[in-house]
């Protein structure tokens, strides 16, 4: 990647988490993100199997809208903590192109929880990243066709 990614929202989440020096408080921060996300942004009609991310302990739906080659994600989960995580992921990485999404890696995800999550849930976040990247490639590929 030749230029640095513009990840304003991501930087905001990471900045907030870095200000909190207690793991329990970071955990509560993620819960707060989940609570504040609310239910209104994710249409009920989009909670269908086609948008379901498989392999999660709780249900996670992720959709994307493409505008001028850039992906804008929305996510939802029936568990608040997971909704917090999916909200941080989708808000952080919205507005990127498929190539820019592919440039994201484990370090980006690790900074979004800073030890407040068990390894299993970090794996879940990595799976969310892979899902976003897959969505990015799918539309990019379709556009190339």
């Amino acid at each position: 990647m030749s230029r640095l990614l513009d990840l304003e929202k991501y930087d905001e989440f990471v900045g907030n988490l870095e200000l909190i020096d207690d793991e329990d408080m970071r955990f509560e921060y993620i819960i707060d993100v989940g609570k504040k996300a609310g239910d209104a942004d994710f249409p009920e009609v989009m909670k269908v199997d086609a948008n379901l991310m498989h392999g999660c302990m709780s249900k996670v739906w992720i959709i994307d809208r493409v505008d001028d080659g850039r992906h804008y994600f929305s996510g939802f989960s029936d568990a608040i903590i997971v909704k917090g995580l999916v909200t941080m992921m989708t808000e952080s990485f919205s507005g990127l192109t498929g190539d820019e999404l592919d440039a994201l890696n484990e370090d980006h995800v690790r900074k979004l929880n800073l030890g407040a999550l068990t390894t299993q849930r970090q794996v879940g976040m990595l799976a969310m990243l892979a899902h976003l990247q897959k969505l990015g490639r799918r539309v990019t590929t379709a556009a190339a066709d």
Binding site: D24, E28, M57, A79, I80, I81
Partner: protein, 424 residues
């Protein structure tokens, strides 16, 4: 019965009362229980998934590796003989623990999953044919469903399912309604890993035998809470796993009646299970070695022997009494939490509590509990059909071990209250 008397009532009323042991003294036997997680004391309520290990088991494993480890049944040297003696002694200890007629009834496997698959792949393949019926229950772990489905694909057998009632209870009349002249096997759990429901195995076996069917019991969750007497139950097969009985992971047991094991072909081919091999023909060992191809889980089996001796010293009846007392206390305290619902309330259930809290996702509850140092399990617990039956997607499960005390229960209750506060 008053609240207090329910908590001090000895287990097994009716004359044979057994007192619980001093759980706080016993906790000192388990080194891991003194550690903290996230700066809080560990409260371990996930013994149904895998139990913690007492010092005697850890020491036994270390001693085996440090002082006499070798392969078994084949070495022409001192260490091999020592290891073989210890491995075979473990088989004898396990046979006595189960009240099996002989150690020859005890096949050492890698897990209860392998024990069940062994029966499906050998006895099932040999004796079941198209149209024959295998009865399971709605409460089965996937390990006692999928092997029979695989056999259904191969042989065209029919799987019939005994329903459970809304409270999770199991009734023999529901079982009898599933029996037919084509029933050849009843493969059933002794205790539900989700609901704690006990199945009346002795009576069920009597009925099944009257109809000419064999009985295989998945005892993974049963033997740890109540022990087993396979001769009293008269079951044909009884499978269980070591790591849930405070032993090492990687070792399981299959008990089989002598004539039944004798009638079965080998499970896997390899070393140790043969008498003579030529390229023209191979002859096989007698049971149980016929079913133990290759290098077995040597140290795991020896460690399991130590675990069995440990629980025998405490006494299975005392363990049951202790767990019963803690379960009763937990049920009483948890019931006071607004919105709390126990899933599975069959009478005389084993010490396993699955629960939900109104308006909260089980995953969230378990995650907050985890941050409080309280280890539970969340999800479908490898029992997806049971979740469908109960009309739920999953539960939080607190499964008790012999070391759980009332302070653990208090931490669980406080953790759930904290979850409500944080998540609402």
């Amino acid at each position: 019965m008053s609240k207090l008397s329910a908590l001090t009532e000895p287990f097994g009323t009716g004359g044979n009362s057994v007192q619980a042991f001093d759980v706080d003294k016993v906790r000192a036997d388990f080194p891991i229980l003194s550690r903290e997680v996230y700066g809080k004391p560990l409260v371990f309520f996930d013994s149904g998934a895998s139990a913690q290990k007492p010092r005697v088991v850890i020491d036994c494993i270390r001693e085996a590796y440090e002082s006499y480890y070798s392969n078994v049944h084949r070495g022409a040297h001192y260490l091999s003989q020592r290891a073989t003696d210890a491995y075979e002694e473990a088989r004898v200890i396990i046979a006595k623990f189960m009240n099996a007629p002989s150690d020859k009834n005890i096949v050492i496997t890698s897990s209860v999953t392998e024990s069940i698959n062994l029966v499906a792949a050998t006895w099932g393949r040999k004796f079941l044919k198209e149209g024959d019926e295998v009865i399971v229950s709605e409460m089965e772990h996937h390990a006692n469903i999928v092997p029979w489905q695989m056999l259904r694909e191969e042989k065209g057998i029919i799987i019939k399912v005994v329903p459970v009632r809304d409270d999770g209870s199991f009734h023999l009349q529901d079982f009898e309604a599933c029996l037919s002249s084509r029933t050849k096997l009843v493969a059933i759990t002794e205790v539900s890993n989700v609901l704690g429901t006990r199945v009346p195995i002795k009576e069920l076996t009597r009925i099944a035998h009257e109809r000419g069917a064999k009985v295989l019991v998945d005892g993974a969750q049963g033997i740890v809470h109540q022990g087993v007497d396979v001769q009293a139950l008269d079951v044909d097969f009884y499978g269980w796993t070591g790591h849930k009985l405070y032993g090492p992971s990687g070792v399981g047991i299959l008990y089989g009646k002598a004539d039944v094991l004798e009638s079965m072909p080998p499970f896997q081919g390899g070393g140790d299970m043969i008498v003579r091999v030529t390229f023209e023909k191979t002859t096989f060992q007698d049971p149980p070695h016929r079913f133990e191809a290759g290098t077995p889980p040597i140290v795991q089996a020896i460690g399991l022997g130590a675990a069995v001796k440990y629980v025998e010293e405490l006494g299975m009846k005392s363990i049951a009494a202790q767990e019963h007392s803690t379960l009763a206390y937990a049920q009483q305290e948890l019931a006071d939490i607004e919105g709390y619902r126990e899933v599975g309330t069959a009478p005389d259930k084993a010490a396993i509590i699955s629960f939900l809290v109104d308006g909260l996702h089980p995953f969230d509850v378990a995650a907050v509990l985890d941050r409080q140092g309280v280890a539970t399990r969340v999800g479908q617990h490898c029992a997806e059909p049971l979740m469908d039956r109960m009309g739920i997607e999953g539960t939080v499960r607190a499964s008790f071990g012999l070391y759980n005390n009332r302070a653990d229960v208090d931490a669980l209750v406080a953790g759930i209250r904290k979850a409500k506060e944080m998540l609402s």
